[in-house]
């Protein structure tokens, strides 16, 4: 018996040692290293650096372009937040009795699996000011008055990129909501229908409560996703014109790899991590509090 216990221990150790070493070495350690680097002025290549206390944090809080970028992130967040009801509607629609539902399900998720760089270029073409397709669509329906420089007007560009993000990621949420809806036992829904519940009551009293956990996940995914928007603005506008479509992650990456200020960039990276963790904890308390209260009633 003792040897079996020993055999078990050896097996656990041998199985986990490499995955754990990789995780610690390439994920956990770098994350902690960001904290240390955030107190230095390291430039990314010199052998030496200075310890500069909170200077990076002070300059981060006074950086207007960074605040502008964070505001841009907020637009992505609210855009995706407003889309949750639409995504829910499509999830309900595609799980209901519907001809060609399978084809529509394939289509709704397709943007999510398409190469992000390729689709960003495709949208650059779509919105391009010369022979762009979007302007052609507007002309075709006699809305020429609405034609703008979609990607170079500082007032508009970030909203256009948010629309691209909605195009790309909404289908993912639809599929998640569909999975949650399909995990509902069918007999509960049928019983409710027999008792005379209409589809709105079915949605409100049976489907919504049971997908609250998935809504919770999608909300968190929205926040995390919105804070980390990177490749759409990077490919389509490089954050421009000026900082009109810059995002927090894009600004952070540029600070490190373009302007060689690894110390300051680490400080921003720490800020992103702190934001994600704080939101995670707060949201967990609020949403779970709500769900639990409803269960008690």
């Amino acid at each position: 018996m003792k040897s079996l216990e020993k055999q078990k221990r050896i097996f656990i150790f041998l199985s986990l040692v490499i995955p754990m070493a990789l995780l610690v070495g390439f994920v956990v350690f770098p994350a902690f290293d960001l904290f240390r680097m955030s107190f230095t002025d390291w430039d990314g290549y010199s052998a030496t650096w200075n310890f500069i206390r909170l200077d990076n944090y002070i300059s981060m809080f006074h950086n207007e372009n960074l605040w502008q970028s964070l505001k841009n992130n907020a637009v992505y967040f609210f855009g995706h937040l407003l889309f949750i009801p639409i995504e829910l509607m499509f999830a309900v629609l595609l799980t209901s009795k519907l001809r060609a539902a399978k084809f529509y399900k394939t289509m709704v998720f397709m943007p999510y699996i398409i190469n992000g760089v390729a689709i960003s270029y495709a949208f650059s073409y779509f919105f391009s000011p010369i022979n762009g397709a979007f302007d052609a669509i507007l002309s075709a329906v006699h809305l020429e008055a609405l034609i703008h420089n979609w990607l170079s007007d500082p007032k508009l560009v970030n909203f256009v990129l948010t629309a691209v993000s909605l195009w790309r990621f909404s289908g993912y949420h639809v599929i998640l909501f569909m999975a949650a809806l399909q995990s509902l036992p069918q007999d509960v829904q049928e019983a409710a229908q027999v008792d005379g519940a209409d589809s709105w009551q079915l949605f409100k009293y049976i489907q919504i409560p049971s997908i609250m956990l998935m809504v919770d996940f999608v909300l968190f995914d929205n926040i995390r996703g919105a804070l980390q928007v990177f490749d759409i603005p990077y490919v389509m506008t490089s954050g421009g014109p000026g900082y009109a479509s810059s995002t927090f992650t894009l600004y952070t990456i540029d600070t490190a790899f373009k302007y060689s200020n690894f110390g300051l960039a680490s400080t921003m990276a720490v800020a992103i991590m702190v934001m994600i963790v704080v939101i995670y904890v707060v949201q967990d308390k609020i949403i779970h509090g709500l769900v639990l209260r409803r269960d008690k009633e």
């Binding site: 754990m20 070495g25 956990v28 994350a31 629609l93 699996i113 270029y121 495709a122 599929i175 991590m273």
Partner: protein
């Protein structure tokens, strides 16, 4: 009866509108890829050129680019090696975490959870130094080691799957004198095949589509992947949308093809990752 027919019609209309929105940017890019430079101006962006003027020269230009093959080869190599290790480490880690109790387990679970929560892009600022220090900069080793170490979604899929395998199976195998390793390799691993199919396909799509890691760690021309090939190709075609359009279509195709053929596995795995714990 009449009401439900109307409802069906409205549902169909909404769905068709969705399909149009999804397909529009892709189809319009495809149209552009078939146009000559003159037709980019002469025909509407919403239409194909007249049949006789459809040209394949843009596609020839992309397919004739010697770096496209380089991109295919590198992406393929990264895929095979990363996915092999992802499956190997993913299955065994999930097996241990699902089936065994040991003192360090809470610590290990916490570390994996932390690994999921840590935002990937900004971590590169600190990871860059480590990759450089190991001499992996400008080698295929950089993306491989990062994908294997940091992309952890397979753990959810495997853990969920293993929890559906009855424990009595483990016990009877051990009673029959099977070692723990034998139990894992001969009994558990084969049962995980459907989950592995999901993992392979989702990982393949993620890796093919990833831009940032190859872009950051492998600036060398010989180390182009499909995605960084497109970025270079785009920079070289300044303003020549029809050529770039052909490049976009060529680079989109591999994942679309994978998706169309294996969507069952993809849709099965996507929802499995949606757990906050």
């Amino acid at each position: 009866m009449k009401k439900s027919t109307l409802l069906q019609a409205v549902k169909q209309l909404v769905c068709i509108a969705m399909v149009l929105v999804v397909l529009a940017p892709i189809l319009l890019t495809l149209f552009a890829a078939f146009k000559t430079k003159a037709d980019m101006v002469n025909t509407s962006p919403l239409l194909l050129p007249p049949f006789g003027r459809i040209t394949l020269e843009n596609f020839q230009k992309v397919l004739g680019d010697k770096y496209l093959m380089v991109g295919f080869k590198n992406t393929g190599a990264i895929l095979i090696v990363s996915i092999f290790f992802n499956v190997m480490f993913g299955t065994i880690t999930a097996f241990i975490l699902e089936r065994f109790e040991f003192r360090l387990k809470p610590v290990i679970l916490a570390l994996f959870f932390l690994g999921m929560l840590i935002p990937s892009f900004v971590t590169e600022i600190a990871r860059f130094k480590i990759i450089n220090g190991l001499g992996l900069y400008n080698t295929l080793g950089a993306p491989i080691v990062i994908y294997v170490a940091s992309d952890l979604m397979q753990l959810y899929i495997y853990r969920q799957f293993i929890s559906t395998i009855p424990r009595s199976l483990d016990e009877s195998a051990l009673l029959d004198g099977c070692s723990y390793f034998g139990l894992f390799v001969r009994i558990i691993l084969p049962l995980l095949a459907p989950a592995t199919a999901t993992v392979i396909i989702i990982k393949a799509i993620t890796i093919i589509n990833d831009m940032y890691i190859p872009y950051l760690y492998m600036p060398k021309n010989k180390l182009r992947t499909l995605t960084t090939f497109l970025m270079n190709f785009a920079n070289a075609q300044q303003g020549s949308w029809q050529k770039l359009a052909a490049g976009i279509i060529v680079i989109m195709l591999p994942t679309i093809v994978i998706y169309v053929f294996f969507q069952k596995y993809i849709l099965a795995g996507v929802a499995a990752g949606a757990v906050k714990e």
